[in-house]
């Protein structure tokens, strides 16, 4: 999942010492777009925000589950919870939401058998809107598409995060260099 941690607002605060609920209120007032991460002993909770509103709540253990806000709020005040807040562009929040909520056009395409450039060409021709998501053990990337053209791109490899044209180039190059998994999500929500 493309959770970008390159713009931290708050990092590694322990619930033992900080009034987390005050901080959450502040993020709401500030109109946070990004996510709050709550690390627990065996799992992580993610509250995805757009303009100060919680748009999705996830639990990662390590599978990703959609959960409800109340269970996370309970986790926030648990002793030993570690709390971080990261800002992200709205388009990146949108990309995460697309990969959770939207209909898949193609699932588990592998670059062992497909040519990613041909796939891009086809999606352009079809005036596709949605997300192309690529994933490998060491790296992950996404291209947000609107009417067949890219409007945003991001690439992550370990601690390195790239955006825009450089990210796009890395997605293509790394997908050709390594056997990468490719999923394509449309802009339509799952029924």
């Amino acid at each position: 999942m493309l959770l970008l941690r390159n713009k931290p607002l708050v990092q590694n605060l322990k619930s033992n010492y900080v009034r987390i609920e005050e901080l959450i209120l502040e993020m709401k007032e500030k109109g946070l777009t990004g996510f709050i991460e709550v690390e627990l002993k065996n799992s992580k909770d993610i509250l995805l925000y757009n303009s100060g509103k919680v748009v999705k709540v996830l639990r990662i253990d390590p599978d990703v589950h959609i959960t409800d806000k109340n269970s996370v709020v309970f986790d926030l005040v648990k002793v030993g919870a570690v709390f971080s807040v990261y800002e992200m562009k709205e388009n990146f929040v949108k990309m995460i939401l697309f990969s959770i909520e939207n209909e898949l056009l193609y699932k588990n395409l592998t670059t062992e058998f497909i040519d990613i450039r041909k796939l891009m060409k086809k999606l352009q021709k079809d005036k596709f809107s949605g997300v192309i998501h690529v994933c490998h053990r060491d790296c992950e990337g996404g291209i947000l598409m609107e009417s067949g053209l890219p409007s945003e791109s991001v690439y992550m490899e370990k601690d390195m995060i790239e955006e825009g044209a450089e990210a796009l180039e890395n997605i293509v190059r790394e997908s050709e260099r390594k056997i990468t998994n490719v999923d394509v999500f449309t802009d339509k929500k799952k029924r």
Binding site: R117, M120, K121, Q124, E146, S147, L149, P150, S151, E152, S153, E163, G164, A165, L168, E169, V172
Partner: protein, 139 residues
Amino acid sequence: MVKMKNMKMKYRRGNLRDIIDSLLKDRFTGSLKLERGEILFSEGKLIFVVYDNKLGKKNLKSIDETFDYKVEELENEELQLRIRWYKLISGIEGGKNREEIIEDLGIRNVDKKYMTKILEKEDLLYLLKESGDNASSKE
């Protein structure tokens, strides 16, 4: 002329020369999208043309005088992303090509005389090819 950012717009019909002139005059940054291609501008300069999946300004000649178009303002990052996209899918590798590097260096006309002078200066005259008068990428 209506220019809107990130909004779905319907195609309009117009004269290519008039639209381009108007965008250049307005120091426009963004896209002039055609049914079969796209022309990109940065601060009033025409920087990129793709038409029928072919890249390059020379393709402007093949566009009819009147055509359907839509205009969209873009940030520089979006512009660069779009250019990289077209280059990647057309198989042109990222980074600058030879012509762009030569242009960046301020060497507009690389002829044999000029090249000989430079190589002589650097003690590298042995690198000069014996035949051909032009050292441009069209060689």
